[in-house]
């Protein structure tokens, strides 16, 4: 729960968090080292100084760190834990579903764990989707279209093999498809983070919600074009939001574009923990206003308190059928457990 300076309670759903193991012990090769090093550079590049972590903690933090940073020190009420395998880089995967489920079990009612699959695995991917639904009753998945898989350096959402997987997701009620479409982290032979495949998949799977993490940046105009036309395409703010600290005018321009084109109902807060922690992000977002000159250049859009409340939790709650009033009451009755105990 975030309490505003005026005392108002804001329900926070953190739409994009991780519980990874990027430690040297888990790295399979140089790519695994480079991958976590790159994440660490994002962390040091955009975090306020007082929120910097040591490298060793960043590589592998505990379940208690996660719980504390999100819910005790941080303002989150519910966090969506996304799974990312990167099996070509990490021995046990970067953050597989079992690892995520272990923390969700330790701290009940706080996490929604999403699965992941790779359509290039063919029938095995379909079997794995069944397995995740039956074993963990997942309602969402995270897609990483630039993941390596043998000789392949990426795939597209509208590949025929991917469509078979999404048909199955639709049938099983796995409604929320998070897709990383953002800055390049993994080497590309082709531009696997290009957003245009979202257009096809979202049109062909109207029942599914397509949450585009990092809102397509650095292809914001393409993303806005698609998300304006497709009612089931949403913008995840992870990576865009941390600019609020180091380059607030830049963040203002991004959020103004999003508000103008896709509107306040389709923007979702996400910290991208542990790259960034939610406390400072939420505090800064609540205090933020779009400067007048930027707003007037794009239809006079404003970031009102009502809109911030939607972005911070209500929009994600709608997608994940979270009963906000019910959960608020429940959390009020059962104060936080202290993670260390």
């Amino acid at each position: 729960m975030f309490i505003t300076p005026e005392g108002k309670e804001i329900f926070v759903v953190d739409g994009h968090t991780h519980f990874w193991d990027g430690s040297p012990e888990n790295q399979k090769n140089i790519h695994g080292k480079q991958f976590i090093d790159c994440f660490y550079a994002y962390h040091t590049g955009l975090s306020p100084k007082e929120n910097l972590w040591e490298k060793s903690k960043f590589e592998k933090y505990s379940a208690d760190d996660l719980y504390n940073d999100l819910f005790i020190d941080g303002p989150d009420d519910i966090a969506i834990l996304n799974s990312t395998y990167l099996s070509d880089f990490y021995k046990n995967g970067f953050n597989n579903i079992e690892r995520n489920m272990s923390v969700a079990k330790k701290f009940p009612n706080r996490f929604i764990v999403n699965g992941a699959f790779d359509p290039r695995d063919g029938n095995k991917a379909l079997e794995y989707i069944h397995f995740m639904k039956e074993t963990y009753n997942i309602t969402g998945v995270k897609m990483y279209t630039a993941e390596w898989n043998g000789d392949s350096k990426g795939w597209r959402l509208n590949d025929p093999a991917a469509y078979k997987c999404f048909e199955l997701c639709d049938k099983l009620g796995i409604k929320n498809i998070h897709v990383h479409k953002g800055p390049t982290i993994i080497p590309l032979n082709k531009d696997a983070f290009d957003v245009h495949d979202v257009d096809y998949a979202a049109t062909d799977f109207q029942n599914l919600n397509w949450i585009i993490e990092h809102c397509g940046l650095p292809r914001l105009d393409d993303f806005c074009w698609i998300a304006t036309q497709e009612t089931n395409v949403y913008a995840g703010l992870a990576v865009a939001l941390p600019f609020i600290h180091s380059r607030p005018r830049y963040f203002a321009e991004v959020i103004a574009e999003l508000l103008f084109w896709i509107g306040p109902e389709k923007i979702l807060f996400g910290s991208d923990y542990a790259i960034w922690t939610p406390k400072w992000l939420v505090e800064k977002l609540w205090a933020f206003q779009i400067p007048e000159d930027i707003s007037s250049a794009i239809g006079g859009v404003q970031l009102t308190d009502e809109i911030k409340e939607k972005i911070l939790g209500l929009n994600a709650a709608r997608l994940y059928n979270i009963d906000v009033a019910g959960r608020k009451a429940e959390f009020a009755k059962h104060p936080m457990m202290i993670a260390a105990e």
Binding site: Y40, T44, T184, P187, K190, P218, L220, Y250, E253
Partner: protein, 265 residues
């Protein structure tokens, strides 16, 4: 001898200043990508010296496309010096480094390697795409500077090259971008004569609806700035570790090893 060497190095750096990071439209020198430059051989004869240039990008994962365009630009610019026989370009710490370095320095054709590494992509088309972005970004800076100075939009769209050349900008960045914008107008043959429009579109047409057009320029800039800010942050952090021992965390720089005939700027 020492004087001749430092002149050679200065010449090389001046050529390197002309190589842009295609995605950011900033010189690779300003971005700090050049790690080392060394020269072997005399200046007295033409086409004889060998220049070695090592460069490094913000991440191991930076797009090979961009690495390619930069390596090609570095080689071309340095080899244009009359005393240079060969420029050996080495990309360091990059996932595509081994393949690229081999081809660049054994006389292979960039276009062949590019086709092999990036099937279905066309090097010329890619270069053209980045030229367009650079044009639009520079143009926006100049137009916004004029708006800031009080020019009305209906007058800006009618300004000629001669009009623009008479306008003084106080801000250093605006002045720099005006010069770079004018250079692209000329090289892209978008405006050459004094009475040509100073602000055509990249397709050579007059600007239509001004607000719509400025929206386009803005979105081009937002995309480029995103990459630019991340790149700068990543470059800064890549070889640094956060030192949390004191009250205020300090970043400790990583210094690459230098040999006596290497010069780093």
């Amino acid at each position: 001898m020492q004087g001749a060497l430092s002149q050679q190095l200065a010449d090389v750096w001046a050529r390197l200043d002309l190589v842009m990071d295609p995605e950011l439209d900033e010189p690779v020198t300003d971005m700090g990508f050049i790690e080392a430059v060394s020269v072997a051989g005399p200046t007295t004869r033409r086409n004889i010296s060998t220049v070695e240039i090592a460069f490094r990008l913000p991440t191991y994962w930076c797009s090979p496309n961009f690495a390619f365009l930069m390596a090609e630009g570095i080689k071309r610019e340095v080899e244009s010096l009359p005393w240079v026989g060969q420029a050996i370009v080495t990309l360091q710490d990059h996932m595509a480094a081994e393949e690229m370095n081999k081809v660049i320095n054994t006389g292979g054709q960039f276009s062949d390697v590019f086709a092999e590494l990036m099937p279905g992509e066309n090097l010329d088309a890619l270069r053209e795409k980045f030229d367009q972005k650079a044009f639009q970004r520079r143009q926006e800076v100049v137009i916004k500077a004029l708006i800031w100075k009080g020019y009305l939009t209906q007058d800006i769209v009618k300004l000629t090259l001669a009009d623009l050349s008479l306008i003084r900008f106080e801000d250093a960045e605006e002045t720099r971008q005006r010069g770079r914008y004018a250079a692209l107008l000329t090289s892209k043959k978008l405006a050459r004569r004094a009475n040509d429009l100073a602000f055509p579109t990249y397709q050579g047409q007059p600007i239509g609806d001004f607000q719509t057009y400025m929206g386009l320029l803005r979105s081009v800039r937002i995309n480029m700035e995103f990459s630019g800010s991340l790149c700068r942050g990543l470059k800064q952090s890549r070889y640094l570790e956060a030192d949390l021992s004191g009250d205020v965390p300090l970043l400790v720089d990583y210094t690459p090893p230098l040999t006596s005939d290497h010069a780093c700027r």
